[in-house]
Amino acid sequence: LNAALLAVVLWPAWHGALVAEDFESKPVAANSQTSFSRQVAPILARHCVACHGPKKPEGDYQLHTFARLMKTGAGELPAIVPGKPDESYLVELITSDDADVRMPKEAESLAAADIELVRRWIADGAKFDGPDAAAALESYLPKPVHPQPPTTYPRPAPVTALAFSSDGSVLASSGYHEVLLWNATDRSLVRRIGNLAQRTHAIAFNGDGSLLAVAAGTPGRMGEIKLFNPQTGELVADLGTFADEVFDVEFTRDGARLAACGADRTIRVYDVAERREVKSIEAHADWVMAIAWSPDGTMLASAGRDKAAKLIDAKSGTVLVTYPGHDEQVFDVVFSANGNQVFSAGRGRELHRWSTDGKSTSKSDVRKKETGPIIGRTRGDIHRLVLHGKRVLAVSADGKLTEFDPARDGREPAMVYEGAPPQAFAVALHEKTRRIAVGAFDGRVTTYEIGDAAPWQVFIAAPGFVKH
């Protein structure tokens, strides 16, 4: 009862905090200098880029970078005439009285304050004050102040990411606007790490346990990669802001580099010590759902919503292999322990194995029963894969965690871990402590002892949540 009462008392306060999530720009005093990166870019990013972005530029106007904004589109009218808001096509469109002409299309007019900002910025000379005129607006937008996570959860958040700390003592799970660190044995809450976007899609500890990397995002709005000190919860570095969610993040074995990928279709490689991006790779035609480092840290494997899995040279960004065997979205990839093979799986409910030498598979070989690359099947979409020695575990939408042994004949599962709820989204495994954790949509984390098909512990990864 006490917890329920507390939830009632605190809930409105928490709800109030969420209001800040509306990334509206703050009004500025009329005499102050306007800023493109802090004031105008947020308006464009929110209201224009979905239709006038890199994908399909409606009317040939693109607004996703400053350089593009200043180019003339199909209408042959310059969107911006510096110093002259009344001659700028952009202003004409956002202020039109004709609902058929006015932008944004089929929506309410922009707020008067926003329109005034755009006008004033143009009148001030339409100056660029960002880091790179060719960079996406999102990369230098003012960082949104993320709302506080709920003090007590009125309902659980889906568990979309799990990771064991290097020594296996801590299990990190995704929360709402936060990452939660739990004692892996008695499941007590160790720490809450906030200041994060809504959803966390991947969590990674580096080898010595000194850093915790988080891939997060607020759907349709932004994504981010942040490094924390797991001992203190302190933010160590903010590696970047993206147009939409970031889905995966992984350290190389030596912890020197970090790779991430997401809905902006890119794979990015970071130098961890210098905290800077060293490579941006565009190899997929749609969201990149997952990446994996080869054991030696030279290659990346990637899984795409474009139904492709790829092998990429991490240094040059060159695509070495495009594996053609998937007919559906690919959700995860892992390397075999020796690095010679890649396992990939997704909506197709099949575990594929292909070799890194590029010789493995032609499309026609895929369906061959005995010699083909499909080494296992599940009854639900495969959301995540994890390696266990020479074996691969696949967590699927039917709540099963299925262990496949690529060396085994017959392609039957080596074993099936039962008892996790349906829509299991995340899995983590720690060899030394022999623990497996599976996270699901309903907020439950189901843990197992390696080799024992029945759950060891089940708990809801939502602080303060009380089931009614």
Binding site: E108, Y176, Q198
Partner: protein
């Protein structure tokens, strides 16, 4: 104090959420349809849009539930903070959305979705009552002075519950003259008729509406009704404040009756004596005479040969001739239409000895047979249900494959095949035996499950022992007088061929969402057809004797805007065969038409010349080119004669093209006919003394009337001034056959 305020405020803040949690299937799915999210052009597309896929028009709520709540790691909905859900931010355009504004922030629809998310996106309980039907009030209405009308939609559920779903239903007007507000308020922008399809979840109902001018001075002309047809047509016209046109004159009538009944023009003598006849029952007697003429059967044999795909490439030249003869003889003998159809459906054996077996020879797999049979004999276009439940009708994919299973065991023994091109597997030349295998099933492609056969719309699967013939019970069920779709579609087909437009239009698209323009009349016609024992001549006689059929094509002040209520005769270009035969009757000339012997009219020819048969005994020669089509064959093609590859009336092109105009003005066929030495014009010159007599004769044979005085004087003058009477008559005939009056059926 803050704590105190929180306690006070909390209940007030939550008052709005006291409303019951929306039901996923009854409310949320309705919102997705109402906002258009699951339309075929948006997320209902086969591949979805922007990575988000919903089932087309909400046919699969279970899949949509997962797509909304779980897909892409639960990205789209946010129960922890509902307003931040992507599925609310995007359609309300608070976050840019390519599909534009679909849900206004704070609207009822928005609120349903928000409250459902806030409640944790509860799935539907398995014992939730299902929607049984919807009822729309009013179901039909003529609006006279007020252009607006509110509709009320009530949903009935299997547990007996009723619910007003006016606000959640989707409204789809058939015409741009009507718009419907989200609250179900109809508004006409112009006078006219329209149907609004009302859809709630998987149920649809049509509302028939008309908006007519008040016409304060309207006086019903009270025309006498000859039979039940007139009563129903006039009742509707009167409600629309519309008078039918006056009765057509004798010349207009006899030309129309010959063309519609026989496909030919009356001769000059027939027309003259009919017009001269002073008796009051002369039209009825003429109709009786026409029904006994051989051209009547030939005319219907042409129509059915088109629909039954009687073409040479598959059925082969011998088969085409035999099949055509069988159809023609069936109509000549006045075979009841139900028996005619039964013989086609139950047919088997040699395609040469038992010609109706060519129905199956022409439709070579279960799917094709199933779709053809539904379209021809039930007036149902089933094709949509092959890949997904029919969006505008009640047919599901299960219905489709169970229906197809009825035809799964038809097989062929190919006795001989002399096809000239061995590479073309769709070509046959030689006898075939249609037979019934002991096994053979149709699988549902989604599940791989073998489908037990079931009649379309029947509740139970066909209880037949394994190996028992499925087509015999099908033939009996299909042609039963209790089979409403059969009776109506066939009565409507006959009406269409005489009136130029179906009561249901298109005539092979019967569905709840495409109601008849005059349902009471279609019912009455169907009853009459049943009571007559499916007697085609009886129904043709009833229609042709009605005043409705005999109305002039000339509009009056009140019916000028009407195209669909038969308030006046429909003007149409003569179909290809009728046009060529009419030209031949007036000008003369003989044609080479496919395999037919010389002198065969286009309306009598059995084939379409899909491939030319080699002479008997001739050795097979590869690469042999087909003979060129004759100019008359090209003429027929240009004017829309169908190649008979589809079981659809729509295969016949009825439009007018520039090419047709050129063909009539200066084409090779018309030129050859006019200049042929021993043509009708030569006979005209030989048989008549004076130019006036010649011109009179020409007018009667082409237009079933005498020339007016002005016409006669001008043309006589033209002939007298010309030194060459033959050339002058050719000019005059050319002019007459290029007139609208000649080219159109009025």
């Amino acid at each position: 104090l803050a704590l105190f305020l929180l306690f006070i405020c909390r209940p007030i803040a939550s008052a709005a959420d006291v409303q019951p949690v929306p039901s996923f299937t009854a409310d949320v799915m309705a919102v997705l349809s109402k906002a258009g999210c699951n339309a075929g052009t948006c997320h209902g597309n086969q591949n979805g849009k922007g990575g988000f896929k919903l089932s087309l028009r909400g046919q699969e709520p279970a899949a949509d539930y997962l797509a909304l709540s779980r897909d892409q790691f639960g990205r789209r909905a946010n129960p922890l903070d509902p307003e931040q859900s992507l599925v609310l931010l995007k359609p309300s355009m608070r976050l840019a959305h390519e599909g534009g504004l679909r849900l206004k922030h704070g609207s009822l629809e928005y609120d349903i979705l928000r409250r459902w998310i806030a409640a944790g996106m509860p799935p539907e309980r398995s014992n939730t009552p299902r929607l049984e039907r919807i009822e729309v009030q009013p179901a039909q209405q003529v609006l006279v002075s007020d252009a607006e009308l509110p509709l009320t939609v009530t949903a009935y559920f299997t547990d007996g519950a009723q619910r007003d779903v006016t606000r959640l239903a989707v409204y789809e007007p058939s015409s741009t003259i009507v718009s419907v507000s989200p609250e179900g308020r109809i508004r006409f922008a112009d006078f006219g008729e329209a149907t609004v399809i009302v859809r709630y979840l998987n149920e649809q109902a049509p509302v028939r509406l008309a908006y007519v001018p008040a016409r304060a001075d309207f006086v019903w002309s009270d025309p006498p009704a000859v039979n039940y047809i007139d009563e129903h047509v006039f009742t509707k016209l009167r409600s629309l404040r519309m008078n039918p046109s006056y009765l057509a004159g004798d010349s207009e009538f006899i030309r129309r009756a010959y063309l519609d009944g026989l496909g030919v023009l009356p001769t000059a003598d027939e027309a003259r004596s009919f017009v001269a006849d002073q008796s009051s029952d002369k039209r009825a007697r003429l109709i009786d005479r026409l029904l006994e003429r051989p051209e009547f059967a030939e005319h219907w044999a042409l129509k059915w040969s088109d629909l039954l795909k009687n073409e040479e490439k598959v059925v082969d030249p011998t088969g085409v001739k035999l099949f055509h003869e069988w159809i023609r003889d069936s109509f000549a003998a006045n075979k009841p239409l139900d028996r005619f159809v039964r013989e086609l459906i139950a047919s088997r054996g040699s395609t040469y000895e038992n010609p109706p077996a060519n129905y199956y020879r022409a439709n070579r797999d279960a799917i094709t047979r199933a779709e053809a049979t539904a379209q021809l004999f039930l007036g149902v276009r089933l094709g949509c249900a092959k890949c997904h439940n029919h969006p505008f009708d009640r047919w599901t994919q299960e219905d489709y494959y169970r229906w197809a299973a009825l035809f799964a065991r038809v097989d062929y023994k190919i006795v001989t095949n002399n096809r000239p091109d061995d590479n073309d597997k769709h070509q046959f030349d030689g006898e075939q035996i249609v037979l019934m295998k002991e096994s053979g099933e149709v699988e549902d492609p989604r599940t791989g499950e073998q489908m037990e056969p079931r009649f379309l719309g029947a509740a139970e699967v066909l209880a037949a022992e394994n190996g028992e013939d499925r087509l015999l019970p099908l033939a009996a069920w299909l042609t039963s007088a209790d089979n409403e779709l059969f009776v109506r579609s066939q009565a409507n087909r006959i009406w269409y061929h005489l009136m130029g437009r179906g009561l249901v239009e298109p005539i092979d698209d019967f569905r709840a969402t495409n109601p008849a323009v005059n349902p009471e009349l279609l019912d009455a016609l169907s009853d009459d057809f049943i009571n007559s024992g499916f007697d085609v001549r009886h129904l043709v006689r009833a229609i042709m004797n009605s005043r409705t059929y005999q109305l002039s094509a000339e509009p009056n002040e009140t019916n000028r805007g009407d195209e669909i209520n038969f308030s006046r005769s429909i003007v149409k270009r003569l179909p290809a065969e009728e046009l060529l035969d009419a030209l031949s009757a007036v000008i003369g000339g003989t044609h080479k038409l496919y395999d037919s012997p010389e002198g065969t009219r286009a309306g009598q020819a059995w084939g379409v010349g899909a491939f030319q048969r080699r002479a008997m005994g001739e050795r097979r020669q590869r690469g042999q080119r087909r003979p060129m089509a004759s100019d008359a064959e090209k003429f027929l093609k240009l004017f829309g004669k169908p190649p008979r590859l589809l079981t659809c009336e729509c295969e016949r092109a009825t439009d007018a093209t520039l090419g047709q105009a050129f063909q009539l003005l200066s084409g090779p066929t018309i030129h050859r006919m006019l200049t042929e030495k021993d043509n009708e014009l030569a006979k005209l010159l030989a048989a008549n003394e004076s130019p006036a007599e010649m011109i009179d004769e020409l007018y009667w044979s082409a237009l079933a009337r005498a020339p007016t005085n002005d016409e006669r004087m001008a043309l006589v003058q033209h002939m007298e001034q010309s030194g060459d009477w033959r050339a002058a008559v050719e000019d005059i005939a050319w002019g007459v056959v290029n007139s609208k009056e000649f080219l159109l059926r009025r």
